[in-house]
């Protein structure tokens, strides 16, 4: 089988990319999704708070996904569900996509272009470094979310949650509303990794305590969890003896962060950014392999799905351009160097001849900065200096570069992006 464009993953990223590519004139395309249904992680995120930016409404996850699934249907975009991509390889400039489907077995599709939109997964239990038994009753927060919200099963009645990322916070509320007692949320760091909005609405609203600088040091129970022991940690994140507290519970949820799912990308030889664990991409969201694009959580972990949709539409447009008129090979590549508090940027480089009039550059900061400014400069010349009351690691930031502005600078090879602060915050 041959296709012009294969999109791997039918979550919000894959759907938005497919829609944009189709609208830009690519007819011979296919979305491949391993789940039985489209929509990705949104299907299990039944809480509200999606689409505030795009639709000016607070939708739930399934409702937000529904809008894109409808659109894809309207445009007659073919989607193969229940089909998993198991290998990606190159043969000259063709991409060989090997897929596995229960009915059709294993087969290979030859594609001219590929969009990677596989999303991310939770960090494994390895994060929990505790000796002893592994009784039943220990789940990752995302797995618990799936049990409760899709299968309608409750994992337990008395719950302790380790990790205060957004999924952990949302599950604390979810399980409380379903009648469980969430005893405490413990966080190793001195600040929460979740959005403040979620701390207030998911914990404070229900009187669930958040213990910062705490970790689990022991789990009791052979068949099933009977209790966990928490202890406070010092600045080096080592448990402080004498601070142990045993808490009876039958369930421990682990919310230890997300990591882009890039086994396939690596197999293909896609160059990765060690900071994001996602591919290094240019202004077209194209990887180092010509005709291979990436978007959504597989590229960098997003907390707002609106940004995923926007970013993915760009990948779709650029893939279409690659297929129809051909993308010029990079000619004047400008790298973007992230320093002083800026952890990374997407894209990491851009080409003047290929960029659209306006180029969005997204980034995250490594700490909380108050009354600071994000500054973009070229050889000491400031191009952007935008002040903001707060920059926080939990919130993705952006700056917009214009082609016009960049073309005026002779021999531009590198842009530097940094945070300049008045004073530094203590955490959130």
């Amino acid at each position: 089988m041959k296709k012009d464009l294969i999109i791997i993953g039918g979550g919000p990223a894959g759907l938005a990319a497919a829609i944009a590519a189709k609208e830009a004139g690519v007819d011979d395309l296919l979305v491949i999704e391993r789940d039985a249904v489209l929509g990705g992680i949104l299907n299990q995120c039944i809480h509200n708070g999606f689409g505030l930016h795009t639709f000016k409404e607070e939708l739930t996850g399934p409702e937000y996904a529904g809008r894109y699934i409808e659109k894809a249907k309207e445009l007659s975009i073919p989607c193969e569900c229940g089909t998993m991509v198991v290998d990606l390889a190159l043969s000259d400039d063709r991409k060989l996509v090997t897929v596995m489907n229960k009915q059709k077995g294993l087969y290979t599709i030859e594609a001219k272009a590929v969009i990677l939109a596989m999303g991310c997964r939770e960090r494994s239990r390895g994060a929990l470094n505790i000796p002893g038994y592994r009784p039943a009753g220990i789940y990752s927060a995302g797995t618990a979310q799936r049990y409760v919200n899709i299968e309608g099963r409750m994992p337990g009645k008395e719950v302790v949650i380790l990790g205060s990322g957004d999924i952990g916070l949302i599950m604390a509320r979810r399980m409380t509303l379903e009648g469980a007692k969430v005893k405490v949320v413990a966080e190793l760091m001195p600040y929460s990794g979740g959005l403040k909005r979620n701390i207030v609405q998911c914990l404070d609203d229900f009187g669930i305590p958040l213990k910062l600088s705490h970790t689990v040091v022991d789990i009791k129970g052979k068949e099933r969890v009977e209790s966990v022991t928490l202890a406070q940690v010092d600045e080096k994140l080592k448990p402080i003896p004498g601070t142990e507290e045993e808490i009876a519970c039958d369930t421990l949820l682990l919310s230890c962060g997300l990591i882009p799912e890039n086994e396939l990308s690596t197999a293909l030889g896609v160059a990765m950014n060690p900071v994001t664990n996602g591919p290094l991409v240019n202004e077209s969201l194209e990887t180092n392999i010509e005709g291979v694009f990436a978007c959504g959580n597989v590229l960098h972990v997003h907390d707002l799905v609106d940004y995923v949709s926007e970013e993915s539409a760009l990948a779709g447009r650029k893939a279409a351009q690659f297929l129809t008129e051909g993308l010029a090979r990079p000619d004047r590549t400008i790298s973007i160097r992230a320093v002083n508090g800026v952890r990374y940027t997407v894209p990491a480089m851009l080409d003047l001849s290929r960029m659209e009039e306006k180029q969005l550059v997204r980034f995250r900061v490594g700490n909380v900065y108050q009354d600071a400014a994000v500054v973009v400069s070229a050889g000491g010349q400031e191009l952007i200096n935008r002040k903001k009351k707060v920059f926080a690691p939990g919130e993705m930031e952006q700056v917009i570069l214009t082609k016009k502005q960049l073309s005026l600078i002779p021999e531009l090879e590198e842009l530097v992006i940094e945070i300049r602060e008045a004073k530094q915050g203590e955490g959130r």
Partner: protein, 123 residues
């Protein structure tokens, strides 16, 4: 007159200001700690009529999935949250259920409907 104070964390933006409100049985006397007017709006709402959109699940009979996700169409008073989820636990709907279908009208006499946020076909 009995002035009491309440502390809030504003969720308007990531700054998360700690805001103190002095009030006399709900009559606001002073608001301090907010950096911008949105913070004052937020705490006024929180003090006089705190509301939340509630999202939960309802059992489905004969569907491709055993449950369907639902939400209150608009925010309901915060003190009705648990009544609402308790009431939803006793409801069973038959498949198919479509996104936007009313699953429970006027939940707990709030005047607000609970609607399905997902489509569950017959299974």
């Amino acid at each position: 007159m009995s002035i009491s104070t309440r502390e809030f964390v504003c969720i308007g933006c990531p700054l998360g200001c700690n805001i103190t409100v002095e009030h006399d049985e709900g009559q606001i006397k002073s608001i301090t700690g907010n950096t911008c007017p949105r913070g004052a709006e937020y705490v006024t709402g929180e003090l006089t009529d705190p509301r939340r959109i509630v999202t939960s699940l309802v059992k489905v009979e004969g569907g491709e999935l055993p449950v369907v996700s639902v939400k209150t169409r608009t925010a309901i008073p915060k003190d009705k949250i648990f009544d609402c989820t308790r009431a939803l636990r006793d409801i069973v709907v038959s498949a198919p259920v479509h996104m936007g279908d009313v699953v429970a009208a006027d939940i707990c006499s709030t005047g607000i409907d609970v609607i399905a946020t997902k489509t569950v076909e017959r299974g």
